[in-house]
């Protein structure tokens, strides 16, 4: 047993309103720089859709993540022996076309335009060439074009759906979409770290944040190809790769990362997870169908004395262990089984989990008046009749397995029904309780889930342990080194008298 701590995340998709405040917060703090224009360390995708970069889930083309070959975990990108063969040319990287050509507008035209009959306009100009461009793609093109059929239809996760189901997804009466905010998953088995020839990428020991050392990075861009979530970006100005750093300067001072902090829908949760690093390799070798379970088995119970003992041996601080016991992420993922990692079949074991979105509440209407429902099914469509087919969500969150997704959705549906029976009273309480039991839940758990979903405070959402950076600094430098050498006193000697 080799217990390590990981700052982990849950995004509650049922609460996401797709406002992109997170993306903007991140952009303003980190990537509003030359060469980083096109980077969206945090982006919000419309699903079904192709996402950013276009079709990032298409690993047939991008070759990200891990595959099991001859009983061993291997990067899909290249075998170890062929590693150097591609070092000067990464054939599977997204091009600027799969991202987009960054642009701005010529705002000065608004002030310097000649006097004329029409209003002056600021035309879009490319940030690459400086010339006028006809914008063909953007960071959120699916959404900006109203989920154009072109992009929605090419969602990779639709592969499991029948032709009929796909048509239904796109017809106006049954149109359905949800938002998928994405940041770096700070995986437990990161492919980017494994692929780096320079050893520039590393996973921090104390909190598991994956970072690129800008001094070591040589711009080989294996990480860009290897990351199946395409969350490492190459900075064309500095010649180095960059990625989401989970706002570690904020996390180290006890604050939530900028995108978490600014989230309008309060969909984001952050907490410590303890995981057993010894089990990662074996878990990665399990077949697709067992990956969700294998991933959950990696996560260790923070109340188990053996786990605590092993964590202490690894230098995990008491406060981190305490935070792990209060972690909302542990509850969502392991205790309640509500949150699921995106694409577990990439075998990187993400530290970011999603609570899948339920479909909209349905009403029967007559003459513009909502009728009192006569059964639960009239309020919430049963899972099998949900507009978003279970097979789609299974591709996204279950490595093709419907069972874990179904379990989470069923529980959420049961809790909603039960809460409705409590507050509105138009559902039979007995039926609601039976539903809870059937969904492997009870009123205590349901109440806890309800509270953390709907009424959560800041402190409940973000349980961030102190990082003890001051202690870490003491290891490297003597904090008393400059005592008496600087601080109080005059910077320049006072001059008095003559």
């Amino acid at each position: 047993m080799d217990i390590r701590s990981q700052v982990a995340m849950v995004f509650h998709l049922d609460k996401c309103i797709g406002c992109h405040t997170c993306s903007i917060a991140c952009k303003n703090v980190w990537t509003d720089r030359k060469g980083a224009d096109y980077m969206w360390w945090n982006n919000v995708e419309t699903k079904p859709g192709t996402g950013y970069p276009t079709q990032w889930e298409n690993q047939e083309e991008y070759k990200g993540g891990w595959v099991v070959k001859d009983g061993k975990l291997q990067l899909r990108l290249t075998a170890k022996g062929k590693f150097l063969q591609k070092i000067f040319h990464q054939p599977s990287m997204p091009t600027m076309d799969e991202y987009y050509e960054p642009w701005t507008y010529r705002y000065e035209d608004l002030f310097t335009g000649p006097e004329q009959d029409d209003q002056p306009t600021a035309i879009p100009i490319s940030k690459v060439t400086g010339e006028y461009i006809d914008i063909e793609a953007g960071p959120n093109w699916d959404d900006d074009l109203g989920g154009s059929t072109l992009y929605a239809r090419n969602d990779v996760n639709l592969s499991a759906l029948s032709e009929e189901q796909r048509l239904q997804l796109l017809s106006i009466e049954t149109l359905v979409m949800f938002y998928l905010p994405r940041i770096c998953n700070h995986c437990a088995n990161p492919a980017c770290v494994a692929a780096c020839p320079s050893g520039a990428l590393y996973k921090r020991g104390e909190d598991g944040i994956v970072l690129v050392n800008q001094k070591v990075c040589r711009g080989w861009r294996y990480c860009v190809s290897a990351c199946p979530y395409k969350k490492v970006f190459y900075n064309w100005s500095t010649g180095k790769s960059e990625k989401c750093l989970l706002c570690y300067p904020r996390v180290e001072t006890g604050q939530a990362p900028a995108c978490f902090h600014s989230c309008v829908g309060r969909i984001r949760y952050m907490g410590v997870l303890l995981y057993d690093a010894d089990k990662i390799q074996a878990a990665g070798l399990r077949p697709d169908a067992e990956l969700v379970t294998a991933h959950r088995d990696l996560l260790a119970d923070p109340n188990d004395p053996a786990v605590i003992e092993s964590a202490r041996r690894n230098g995990v601080s008491e406060q981190t262990l305490q935070a792990a016991r209060k972690s909302p992420v542990y509850q969502f993922v392991k205790a309640w089984g509500l949150a699921l990692a995106p694409h577990p079949e990439y075998r990187t074991f993400p530290s970011l989990f999603y609570v899948p979105a339920l479909g909209p509440v349905t009403y029967s209407m007559e003459n513009g008046v909502a009728l009192n429902p006569t059964s639960v099914d009239e309020i919430f469509a049963p899972l099998d009749q949900a507009r978003l087919p279970m097979a789609y969500l299974a591709n996204l969150f279950g490595a093709g397995q419907e069972a874990p997704v179904r379990y989470a959705m069923k529980k959420m549906l049961a809790i909603r029904t039960w809460k409705r029976a409590q507050t509105v009273g138009d559902v039979d309480m007995k039926l609601a309780l039976a539903g809870l039991r059937e969904a492997d839940c009870d009123p205590v758990q349901a109440e806890a889930i309800y509270r953390i979903t709907s009424l959560c405070t800041f402190e409940e959402r973000f349980v961030i342990p102190p990082s003890h950076r001051e202690q870490a600094v003491e290891v490297l430098t003597n904090p008393l080194e400059r005592k008496g050498a600087s601080g109080f006193g005059f910077r320049e000697a006072p001059q008095r008298g003559m």
Binding site: T50, Q55, D97, N154
Partner: protein, 269 residues
Amino acid sequence: MFPKPAPRLVLLATLLLPWSQPLGAQDAESQFRKSCMSCHTIGAGRKVGPDLKGLGQRRPHDWSSRFIQMPSAQLDGGDATAAALLREFNGTRMPDLGVTAAESLALLKLIDDYTASGKTLGTAAIARQATPEDIRQGQRLFLGLSRFKSGAPACLSCHSAQGLGGFGGGRLGPDLTGASGKLGVGLVSAIENPAFPTMQGVFQKTPLTGEEAFAVGAFLKSIASQPPARTDMAFPVLGIVGLVSGMLLAGRLGRKRFRGLRRNLKPRR
């Protein structure tokens, strides 16, 4: 007949070589090997020209000396002996080699010495008829598929000829398709002991054996009636074909490469 540029080149080489000093026996022998041996032997029989054994007894030294220095003067000047020799050797004219009076005397002394001692210098031409096997071997030698025993470079390095394939041979020397017509009976000995300064530089240290020269000569004779090799179009055509097939191969090998995704999105039905 020699190819046209040859006498000029020989003259040039003669001027460049430091032959101003009186020649010793050693120098005379090396000059004989260089300039005379492609057509003459001493005591080994006839080649293109007569066997020179006993020349001193047959002709007066001053006549021989003048002939060696400037054969054209006697051949064109109505000298009866010269005219008889020309007839005897099927009209093959001895070229003007630019030999000085001193050199000619040294050469005649060399011939006398050899005659007196009974030694021979040079090898007689192979008299048998060329077989298809000889022709095939000659082609292989020309192409470098068989190596010359002495390690000399294959003819292909500098010469082209008909029947070598699309790429032809080198362009440094002339196309040898018609060489047998030009050199006539002197072909084989010209190959064996080339009098061309460019070739001498290469083949003096690595001479061909008589058999090898005969085989190459047989090959050149076999193609003599064909038009000269036309490689001017074949080369670019082969180049283009090679490029296109190379690109097709590269495309085939890299057919799974990333070709961009967004532009290839298709409206699914």
